[in-house]
Amino acid sequence: MHDLEELTTHCIRCGFCLEDCPTFVETGSELESPRGRIYLVRSAIEGKLLWEDIKPHMDLCLGCRACETACPSAVQYGAILEMARDQIDRKRPSLTKKALLASTTNPTLLKTQLKAAKFIGGKMPGFVSRALAGEKAEANLPKPQINKPLPPLITDTPVRGEAYMLTGCAMQVLYPRVHECTRRLLRRLGYVVRDVDQGCCGALHAHNGDLETARKLGEALTEQFPDDFPIVVNSAGCGSTMKEYDELLEYLMTIPPSGSSDDIAKEWEASQQHKKKVDGFTQRTFDLSEFLFSHGLLDELKNAKGLSNKRITYHDACHLSHGQKITSPPRQLIQAIPNAQYVELPESMMCCGSAGVYNVLQPKMARRLLNRKVKHIQETHADIVATGNPGCHAWIAQGCEEQKSARVLHTAELLEAAFIGIEEFI
């Protein structure tokens, strides 16, 4: 507990986070602001409030971490949120939420569900949504991308090395083409992806306060990527969590494990072992845009045929801009696409409401944020919105489709399109 309390004390209540917090901007309520939530968590730790009193407000948080970018005192809000959710969950675990996480992060289960969805009309069945969120569902169950084969890759770049690519859980089912584009872009820079058997990174579990499961999944993942290759991640939420495995462990080590003293000793030993492995792991994890930018894709793009007459804007995925502080590389790459016109999106760094499974758990707020986002996209008159996270991708695409606005592409798809033409992606 000590660590969580320590983290909350760094907030001096200056309030600089308020206007960057999507839920505060939408509701105007201090309870739905980072400063308010930190105060509530601190009050719960001090015993002045009950954990269940603060639960609805922790639930409404998107976990977008825009507040961290705004915070002058470097309060680790993301960590506070996850730990507080962990505390709340330990008191009263939510079984329906656990089931949702389990199904979303298990590729086989997810596929089955999506097939079933075809028969029930696109949205989650009402009784499921009510069990999870108490509200009507807003998010369409996503449709997997049609994986039309792309033309053969032609490049004269010699092979420079190997890299791992996180295939992830939901991503490989929903956005196989993004993976395909990632492979191609990496190859253009001379990197070949080494395919390995791999599981889920645990990001969704961590964001929703199931830190124990997140740790177990993370532990497994570190073992699946044993060699000292760069690990390229094209899902911002996953990358952000993978870069923070070390902090996750540190926190969990502060919570006394339950069970016999033997178990405790064993667990302690195991986590010590694991910590050593994690140290190197976080260092070699890269977001795709970050990796492409630092390995010379800008130069490659000079020879690309480009996207003529396309107006492009970019939405910052929260776990990329706030979680990993990556805002400039993707923009610079997109701006380097020959013949395309780049236009900045107003409030580009404000969450779209997708936020992992948030749009399933908090459909109303998610919808308000989506409408806000789509309104801004319409103002830019862009043809294409690029973004670097599957959650944002599906959610914004749903909004844009409803409003007949821009087409949403993953940054990887957009960049690959610059080489082989946009026709392949429409």
Binding site: I12, G15, G28, S29, P72, A74
Partner: protein, 480 residues
């Protein structure tokens, strides 16, 4: 407030006038609204309401008056003197859902907005037209127009462009009896008594300003910002006095000492010579390159005369923006050093700066507490920032004492207890140091023009109000 007792109060009447989502209550809500950015004193409201229009505010106030319930207005809650703390409980009226711009008149350079809008969003809305809203408190990215009016907010550019009152043309307000008043307007305040002058800076005690006409100021076409490093505090403070004496009025003239420099270098990686003990941030602006260059040169001469170590000019807009981000988030960055801070706000005649700063450091070392200084040097507006752990009551006590000693010194030097943060509950006890009972009575007369009751933001600004003294221990008690 003998009559009001929130445990017996039924808020059903109030609820019936609003949508369910506009009313917040319950243990978490009243906790979250028990203080603003000043955390030493806290007091819980019974209920929080989020009106969306002037008429809703009027309805709420009218209900409060008829039920005898105290009410306190709150914007973003970034105030540093406890102005938005519901001192006697009751209803907190949050303006945060009143955040629309209602009318923009580029031709006459003015704009009407609801007062819950964040200051920065006003400037953003007219940026493309080359205009901005000049008051720029450090909290401008979040603090509301209403809060700025209430506190008569300043900011770094006050030096040249003046404080909030100079940029407000008219207000729509709900008076403490629930009546809607229009004062001034698009054309500014006409003849007659200057009520705007007294409403600005009244800290929400004269009613609730719900809409305002604000003046828009052209963005200067040439801006130069320089960061100057000094080997000693004295050399920096004397430079400030020197620049003022030359007659140059920079757009801003800000100072940071070593304590803040440590925090901001940690937070934002600001670089400066290792032996520097103080930094000055100087901005000059104008309509022509020559005029601005001339100002910068005169500043340079004074800096060099006082033995500055380094003077670096911001190369471009990006670098300039970064320097200002560092300055504006400087106090916030103190959270990296300690869990709590109390920032004071005394003002002194500018020539007394060197003497005053020496005094601040000696008080801090005598009390054995940490202090950092980041302030509007050009205005003589100090912000000694004491950092401590508010869970340790001994430290809290020391910080309160040190603050009082410093404020006493400010007044002794002919200054004031507050330059821009306001009196709120924080500095109420210090008012008699500055004013005689007759002065305070005259201020109370001014308050009576609008507020003759005890319900609208009670127990603020003026000391010794009826029925407030007994609550003071309770406020402190909640905090510790």
């Amino acid at each position: 407030m003998g009559a009001y007792n929130d445990s017996r109060m039924d808020f059903a009447g109030l609820r019936s006038k609003l949508r369910a989502d506009q009313v917040l209550d319950g243990s978490a809500a009243v906790r979250a609204y028990d203080c603003d950015a000043y955390t030493v004193d806290r007091s819980k409201p019974s209920v929080i309401v989020l009106p969306e229009s002037t008429s809703e505010v009027a309805t709420i106030v009218w209900w409060c008056v008829s039920a005898g319930v105290p009410f306190t207005c709150r914007g973003a809650g970034t105030g540093l003197s406890g102005g938005a703390m519901p001192a006697l409980g009751g209803v907190v009226i949050s303006t945060k859902r009143m955040n629309q711009i209602l009318e923009i008149d580029i031709e006459n350079r003015c704009l009407r907005a609801q007062t819950g809008i964040a200051n920065r969003r006003i400037s953003d809305a007219v940026k493309a037209d080359g205009l901005h809203f000049a008051p720029d408190p450090s909290s401008q990215s979040v603090s509301t127009l209403g809060g700025n009016i209430g506190e008569n907010a300043g900011g770094p550019h006050t030096l040249k462009y003046g404080v909030t009152v100079q940029h407000i043309l008219g207000v729509t307000m709900v008076d403490p009896l629930g009546e809607v008043l229009e004062i001034g307007g698009k054309l500014g305040c006409g003849p007659g008594y200057d009520f705007l002058g007294i409403i600005c800076g009244s800290e929400g005690t004269l009613g609730i300003v719900t809409e305002a006409w604000v003046k828009l100021t052209p963005i200067p076409s040439v801006i130069e910002t320089v960061l100057v490093a000094f080997p000693t505090i004295r050399s920096a403070t004397e430079t400030v006095a020197g620049i003022i004496a030359t007659g140059t009025i920079p757009a801003a003239l800000e100072m940071m000492d070593r304590g803040i420099m440590n925090a901001v270098s940690m937070a934002f990686g600001l670089e400066y010579p290792a032996e520097a003990q103080a930094l000055l941030l100087v901005e000059c602006d104008g309509e022509s390159v020559e005029a601005v260059e001339a100002e910068i040169e005169s500043v340079r001469a004074v800096c060099e005369g006082n033995g500055c170590l380094e003077m670096s000019v911001a190369k471009d807009e990006k670098e300039r923006a970064r320097l200002w981000m560092v300055r504006k988030k400087g106090i916030g960055a103190m959270g990296r050093i300690a869990p709590s801070i109390v920032t004071h706000d005394g003002v002194i005649p500018r020539s007394k700066l060197p003497e005053m700063l020496d005094f601040v450091y000696s008080v801090a070392s005598e009390k054995n507490i940490g202090v950092a200084n980041i302030f509007h040097a050009g205005d003589g507006n100090l912000h000694p920032c004491f950092y401590f752990d508010d869970r340790d009551s001994v430290q809290v006590e020391k910080v309160v004492e040190a603050g009082e000693i410093i404020i006493r010194k400010c007044i002794e030097l002919g200054g004031s207890v507050s330059g821009e943060h306001g009196i709120g509950v924080e500095k109420m006890d210090l008012m008699p140091l500055m004013f005689t009972p007759a002065d305070l009575e005259a201020q109370a007369m001014a308050k009576r023009i609008f507020n003759d009751g005890e319900l609208c933001n009670p127990c603020k600004v003026l000391p010794n109000q009826r029925g407030c003294a007994e609550h003071r221990m309770r406020w402190r008690g909640v905090a510790t």
